[in-house]
Amino acid sequence: MNSKKKVGKEIFLKINGKEETVFCQPAETLLFVLRNRLYHTEVKEGCGKGDCGACTVLLDGVPVDSCLVLAYQAQGKEILTVKGLGTAEKIHPLQKKFIEKGAIQCGFCIPGQLLSAKALLEKNPKPSREDIKRAISGNLCRCTGYKKIIEAVEAASKV
């Protein structure tokens, strides 16, 4: 092993359908790289160790805590952040319902909530309330008490 060689390499990450190249080191988490190297600050850090879900992204459609995925492990996979879910020009029904139902207060947990909900609806288009609660059980919220988030997901499933 040549210890003089610079540690790290350029990797390809596919984020919201777009390939982005970024230099990163093996110890860097996907969360760190997304926020600090690629400026995808829509992915939030709440705890850094998988206890809160604020950093949730979809990895090949599956919700994961990006603070518990190494950037190297995300190579070759599809990463979806809330910006890839929908925009003002093309709003996703979940975003629309979250806004309409008053499910957003401080908003910090919302990107993660939306993505966990999206993964749920892809797998289970007509979820029960219990299904919804379970799907977002890894996304802590301190403001809303979850009620309007659950109602919003339910409403979106009926669209």
Binding site: G50, P63, V64, C67, V69, L70
Partner: protein
């Protein structure tokens, strides 16, 4: 400092890499435990060898009398797998209760075993199933019973810098057999258990042929309540039997006082309750 992260395609390739780095490389599966260590700067390896691309480690399949689960299978996969639901309710239940959906989507049963925590839900279920571990090293393959794999808190007999846990094997469920998982935690998601218990029961003609009861965290490793198990042999299926078994189990265990988890008395008492409920549940799950 971690210098590299490699993705071998086969077990052999992985073993070669581990050997090459002479103990400075370490296997990584989902990474949910390891990355927490990396964040705290509590690690001593330089290279990560990722099992993600090794297909053999990702499967769940029938192998004659047994079920084989590759070490790279995630908790979500365990929770949702029909074979597991049919043959090892204790494991699908345990898998469904640990962590959060995000953590279950990445955490693997192999990683769980190698991290050797006495409260690990997956571990308790596998103890109840009397699972065998298949481990591959440079000297070949060996099989050890799971209860030999746990040496101490955080210390596994498997050295992830030298060998690979290939998978777990346990017997398919036969007639008269059932299993169940019980868990008490402060909240219903993302919480380590105050106490948990995996139970397996085999019954015939309205009496118990054998039982396996695994409880944690009450010790440095997952704990088999062998006295309670011994008591149950041949006993009839009365509620008093289960209650008595629970009492015996609560006397066997010796959890220490923990300001976070709870006092020794409380957790001892909980052991009795969860063993009783686990037995009732396992019986109800008999096919």
């Amino acid at each position: 400092m971690i210098r590299d992260h490699l993705f071998p395609k086969t077990i052999e390739e992985a073993l070669v890499l581990l050997k090459e780095y002479k103990g400075k490389a370490r296997l990584i599966a989902g990474g949910t435990d390891l990355i927490a260590d990396i964040r705290r700067n509590e690690f001593d390896f330089e290279v990560l060898v990722d099992i993600e691309k090794i297909k053999k480690l990702r499967s769940i399949r029938e192998e004659g009398k047994n079920i084989f689960i590759g070490s790279g299978v995630t908790f979500t996969e365990l929770e949702e797998n029909e074979l597991i639901k049919a043959n090892a309710q204790v494991l699908s239940q345990a898998a469904s209760l640990m962590g959060s959906p995000q953590v279950r989507n990445r955490g693997t049963i192999g990683g769980n075993i190698v991290s050797a925590q006495p409260a690990a839900d997956g571990a308790l279920a596998l103890f109840a199933l009397d699972a065998m571990l298949e481990i591959a090293g440079t000297k070949g393959i060996r099989e050890i019973p799971i209860d030999k794999a746990y040496l101490d808190i955080g210390k596994s007999i498997i050295n992830p810098s030298r060998e690979i846990l290939v998978g777990i094997r346990f017997e398919k469920r036969k007639k008269g057999e059932g299993s169940n998982y019980q868990r008490v935690a402060i909240r219903k998601a993302m919480a380590l258990p105050i106490l948990a218990c995996g139970v397996f029961v085999k019954s015939m003609d309205r009496s118990i042929v054998s039982a396996r009861i695994a409880i944690g965290p009450v010790s440095h490793t997952p704990f088999r309540a062998r006295e309670a198990e011994g008591f149950l042999k041949g006993k009839s299926l009365f509620p008093e039997t289960f209650e008595r078994a629970g009492e015996i189990a609560s006397e066997e265990v010796n959890p220490r006082d923990s300001r976070l988890r709870g006092s020794s008395i409380y957790r001892g008492g909980l052991s009795a309750v969860l063993v009783k409920r686990g037995l009732e549940g396992a019986l109800a799950n008999i096919g």
